[in-house]
Each structure stands twice: as C-alpha cells, then as structure tokens.
Amino acid sequence: MSDTKPFITLVVGALAVSSAASSAFASDQINIVGSSTVFPFASAVAERFGKNTGFKTPVVESTGSGGGLKLFCSGLGENTPDITNASRRIKASEIDLCAKNGVAEIVEVKVGYDGIVLANSRASGVMNITRKDIFLALAKDVPDGEGKTKPNPYQTWADINPALPAVKIEVLGPPPTSGTRDAFVELAMEGGCKKIDWVKAMKKSDKNAYKSLCHTIREDGAFVEAGENDNLIVQKLEANPSAFGIFGYSFLDQNSDKVQGSTIGDIEPTFENIAEGTYPVSRSLYFYVKKAHIGVVPGIEGYLAEFISEDAAGEDGYLADKGLIPMTEEESTEWKAKVKGLENLSM
C-alpha cells in the first residue's frame, strides 16, 4: 500500500498547482517589450530604476520592434505590455491597430540614435566606401544602363570601384527578421540606390519595382546571413580578415581592439559623427508608453523620468557608455518637454 503514497502526493500537488493558476494577479511590475537594439539600453535603465526606487525592477523582453508593437497594440490591461521599444518609428497601420484595440493614447519617447557599421578585422586595412558602392556590392540585381537591370556580376570589391580592395565580396549580416537589417537596407542600400538617376525617377513611376531593386539583397553567397548574434559576427570577422560584417555601433565600440568600421562617404563611424548626423547610416530609437497604464501600473512615470534624466540619456550618461548616441541638446530639451507633459503621439 505504502508504494502508492508518493504517487497520490504528486497528483494532489499537480491539482494544487493547476488551481493556483486560476487565482487573480495584480500587475505590480512594469512590462516592457520590443526592439533588440533598444534592449540593452532599456534594461540598463530598468535596473537603475529598480535600485533607485522601491518599485519592482521592470521586466524587459526582447521581441523585435514589429513583434513588440503587435503585443503593445493588442489591448489594455494587465496582460499587455506597458511600454514597447522600437528601433524605428511606429507606422500608421500600427497606430490604427492600437486604436482598434482600445489603445488610443500613446506617449512617444525618442531615446537617441544608433549607427549601423560595415566593419572588418583590424588585420586588414580600413575601407572607404560610398553607399552606392555598398548597393552595387550587395544588391541582387544591379542597373544595366537606362531602365534595365542584370543579376549582380560583381565578385570582388575592385570590380565595382578600382579604389576598393581586390578581395572577394563577403559580407556577414543579420537575417530579415532583424531591425538592424531593415535599417541597413533602407539607409545604406536604398540610400546608394537612389544615387542612380533613372532609379530615383522610378520611385515615382513604379514604386514596387523601385523597392524590389533597392531592397533585395543578393543570394549567391556574397551576403551571408549570420544570425541575430552580433558577437558571433565579430568572432567570424576576426577569423576571416577579408570578410566584412554589418552590426550596430555598440558592438564596434565594445570590440574596438578586434574590428574597425569602414568609412562611408569619407565619414568615420564615430560617436561624434553619428551624434551630429553626418554619418549616413544611423537611425532613431524610440519607445512608446500606454497612457492608460500610467498611474495604474506603479512606477511608469518614474521609469520615464529615469530614462530622460541627464544621468541616463545625457551626453555623459550611462547609456552613452553602453553605445547609445544621445540627441543634441535642443532636440533633447524638446523631447523632455513632450515626455513631461505626457503629450499624445502625433505623426
């Protein structure tokens, strides 16, 4: 008989667990979702906020910008996130989705900037490249005279521009699910694509063809999808001095002994250049707050105050040490006023 006892205990235990599930929960903790690029900054602020105040440390999830906004716009209430981070601005379609699900009032907060770099190992020389060269090196199809395209024929960098090194084109970059990839395609590829006059004209006449030409990355092995892990790309670059990698500025900053950023249009990817806006491949980072949750979920206002404080987002703040490029003083004052007044998002 005694042998059945542990068995019965387990069954009772299981029932206890399942019944605990049905009891109610009060949300006493801020829930943050969104971009993996903003994640390191948001988590640093969350940690300080938790230590400086008596509130529970917010939970920060890294879901990607799109995934975060989808969760954020799924409705109001305990089981929906209070804040979502984004490495791009919210889209009109997402605002509509939010409004449809009752999330009418949203506070937008601009955090700062992030640069995307094309880097290689310190063992090779620094490459000076233009956005047009980047487009020609990585696009699936390239222009072939007026109005025509051909599959990308370039095998080495020197094929595109004799000033570039005569090594095989080999670029390691993030997969399509990544916000870094989106931004790279939009800023570097499309930026270079537009430099060709007839392509620029096509933007007005045939937007779809324009997009597919400028946004499609080649698939013949010259561009390698290296996964979302940027540390891995850095390690691969170290092992292969002729390869280039695409990642965020913070990884260049942390690994400056191993890799160097290529200059784009004669502009080096440095903290100053990105902050001034002269480095062409940089994007703004944002987060969005549900106004209806402010005051209901404790601490949201405190978290906002911590994020925009000089200690955090200032020029010498701890976020700058983590690789975030702060806004200019003017811009920052403007955004601080908006956040303090909890101004509603307007496009």
């Binding site: 299981a14 206890a16 829930n31 640093a44 890294s62 010498d316 983590k322």
Partner: protein, 419 residues
C-alpha cells in the same frame, strides 16, 4: 582429412581477428566521443572559470554625517560621494575627459554597493571609511589578462592613463581578486561585473517543478490506463500513434500553443515559471507516456497472474504490483523528459520568459527567466565581460543537470530496493 581441432583453430584465428577489429572500432568510437566531450567541456571551463573571480578596488570614501541622512538612505547620492573620493585619490585628473576615464575604473553601479555597505553598518556614517567595491568590467577584463596592453591606445577600451592608475593601485595593494559570490547569489544585471545566475537557476527550478507536478502524474496515469485498462481497438491505436507523433513535434509549436491557450485564452500572467512549466509539461508529456508504457509492458505477466490468482482485482494488481515495479523505468523516462525541458528556450520565447529580469523570483507567479535563456541573452550582449559569464552559466547549467540526474538516480534506487 583434417582434425576438428584444426578447423576450430584455423577458423578461430579469423574469428579472433574480426572480434579484435570490432573491439578496436568500438574503442575508437568511444575515444573520439570522449575527446570531443573533453574539448567542449575543457573550452567552456577554460573560458568560464575566470568568471568566478572578480576584482575589487578599495576606495577611501568620506561618509560625512551632513551628506547622509541615515533615515532616508535610499535618497542619498552615493555616486557623487564615490566620484568625489576617486578625485581625491587621483587629483591629477582635472579635465572633463580625464575625470570621465577615472570614474570608469569602478563599476557603474558601485554606488549601490556603497549604499548597501552603509546600510548594513550605519556606524560608518560620519567616518572616512575604506570600502571595497567592484571594478568596472573593462578593468576586470584587463586584470584577468584579456586585454593586450601593448596594443595601440585607440584599439583598446582602457587608456594609458587608466592603466597607469591601475598599476598604482596595484602597487598600493588596493586591488584584490576575490571569489565572485554575487554570481551565485544575484539576479541578472546590465553590468557584467554585477550579473548573477541565481534568478535564472530559481526560474528554471520553479518551471521544472511545475512541469514535473503536471506531466509526471498525468503521463503515468495515461500510460497505465492505455497499457492495462484501455480496450485494444482502433481508437486506442490512433491515440498511440498520435502520442508518438506528438513526441516529435518541434518545441516552438508548444510555445505557440502556450501563447494561444494559457496567455491569450486563460489570461495567465506572461513571463512566469507557472506558464513556462505548463508549456514544458505539454512538451515532456509524450516522452513520459512512451517511456512509462514501455516499462509497464516490461513487467512480466506472471506478476499480474500471481496477483489475480490470490484474488486481487485489476486496480489492486495494477497499483500494488505493476506500477511499483515499473516505477524505475517511469522515473528514467521522466528524467529524460525533464532534462530536455531544462535545455529548452524556444517555447519560453513565445511566453515572454526570454527577458531581462533583475529580481530573483519568489514564487511561480513572479516574472522569471530560465538558465538556457540567460545563457542566450548573455551570449548576445555587446559587453566583453559577458563572454566569460556565458561560459560560467553553461557550467552552472551542466551542474544543475548533474544534480537533477543524481536525485533521480537516487530516487530510482530507492524504488528498486523495495522489490
């Protein structure tokens, strides 16, 4: 005509050779797998063992009674006091740039450790105390030998001036390498030198507890019913095939299912070990059912016949004789299932357990992460200091697995001894 002995001896040598060959193949296979295992564990230990040490620096800090309100210690800006004492120590740092470099010698969140030490020992207030705080991760990496000081200044994260300060502090014995207890007693942090695995270990333990509580009884009951009571017809065969198929479903699918059912339909809280455990239970159920059925089937029918023969009914036969005999096999199946569950990250991604969580969870409804998720998050962080922490967390995960298996083996032995 040859002798029988001759045939045997001639044949024998060929047979012996074949046997020897086979033996050497086997040895080679074992040797190779051991080498790979050794290389893997070796590289992890090599990279991760330095994470168990952390360098500390001694700072003389003026804790004047005017600056510190003992009743409201959370409000005190210890960061300011810490920066002041660093400036006192190295008065040559006057320019803004130099001062910034100076502050980067200590951990960016060292002020909280000062606060903690003052809170623990209020008699320090009003004195000038010598407190030990963690160095920043960059300094720690340098002291552990991961930074090449011969590189050009622009290529490393520590400047010549900072290296000078560090060597001065070293000469004065104000830098010390200590055992990094916080790695085992703290939650996650954005600063590598402050990060710990306890939150993830407890998160994993709580999830597995929920998973075991749900999947073990359900799995065993299902297996016993299917094997001993269910009529052998078409329906039970369909169920059997489907359970086998379920065992091969990729784990992310269970995560999606968990998201749709537990979070969206039942409205259970996101990022909690409760939901994590429920999703993992779904995943381990088929493994447990299959293993349990096999071990129930392996109980000789003579046992059942003997029990029936002395008048036991079906339920008595099953629960007094068959199940206890099959228990060791069932436990083995559960161990395999739980070990699989321990290493899963994909299903946890969908239910929000892949998150930055600082507070150590107190119960199954607190937000928590799990060990493999913590490893994934650290491996993905830009800071160099997280490299060693990643390997160290893998070592903790392996230790967790070994402890879990040991407990299971001991349990199994106990059940075995009764019969």
């Amino acid at each position: 005509m040859t002798d029988h002995i001759d045939i045997i001896s001639v044949d024998g040598s060929a047979r012996h050779r074949a046997q020897k060959r086979f033996k050497s193949y086997g040895l080679l296979a074992i040797g190779l797998s051991l080498t790979f295992l050794f290389i893997m564990v070796g590289s992890i230990v090599l990279r991760g063992s330095s994470a168990f040490k952390q360098s500390f620096v001694q700072i003389k800090i003026e804790l004047s009674a005017d600056a510190i309100d003992a009743d409201n210690i959370k409000r005190v800006r210890f960061g300011k006091l810490l920066k002041q004492s660093l400036r006192n120590k190295f008065p040559e740092a006057t320019s803004r740039k130099d001062k910034k470099q100076l502050y980067k010698l200590v951990s960016p969140t060292a002020e909280y450790s000062v606060r903690k030490q003052v809170e623990a020992n209020p008699t320090l207030i009003g004195t000038s105390a010598k407190l030990w705080v963690r160095t920043s991760s960059d300094v720690d990496m340098y002291l552990k030998g991961y930074v090449d000081a011969n590189l050009d200044e622009s290529k490393r994260r520590l400047s010549d001036l900072q290296l000078e300060w560090i060597s001065l502090l070293q000469r004065e014995n104000k830098i010390e390498s200590r055992f990094n207890t916080k790695f085992f007693t703290g939650g996650d942090s954005r600063e590598p030198e402050q990060a710990g695995v306890l939150g993830a270990v407890i998160g994993s333990a709580l999830s597995l507890l929920v998973c075991f509580m749900l999947s073990f009884p359900l799995g065993v009951l299902a297996a016993v019913y299917l094997e001993e009571f269910a009529p052998k017809n078409r329906l039970s065969r369909i169920i059997e095939v489907n359970i086998n198929n379920l065992a091969a479903v990729p784990s992310i699918v269970f995560g999606l299912l968990g998201l749709a059912i537990f979070l969206n339909f039942f409205g259970l809280p996101r990022s909690t070990p409760m939901v994590g455990g429920m999703v993992l239970a779904l995943m381990t159920l088929p493994t447990i059912i299959i293993a349990s059925r096999t071990s129930v089937r392996a109980v000789p029918s003579s046992i059942r016949e003997a029990a029936m023969g002395i008048g036991a009914n079906k339920v008595q036969t099953t629960f007094h004789h068959v199940v206890p005999l099959a228990m060791p096999g069932m436990l083995t199946g559960s161990i395999i299932g739980m070990a699989q569950a321990l290493g899963e990250t994909a299903p946890l991604l969908m239910i929000g357990m892949v998150a930055f969580i600082v507070d150590v969870p107190q119960g199954i409804t607190d937000a928590a992460t799990a060990l493999p998720v913590q490893i994934f998050l650290w491996a993905d962080s830009p800071e160099r200091g997280f490299l060693e922490k990643t390997s160290a967390a893998i070592m903790v995960l392996l230790a967790f697995l070994i402890v879990m298996n040991l407990v299971a083996i001991i349990l199994r032995r106990r059940f075995e001894q009764r019969w």
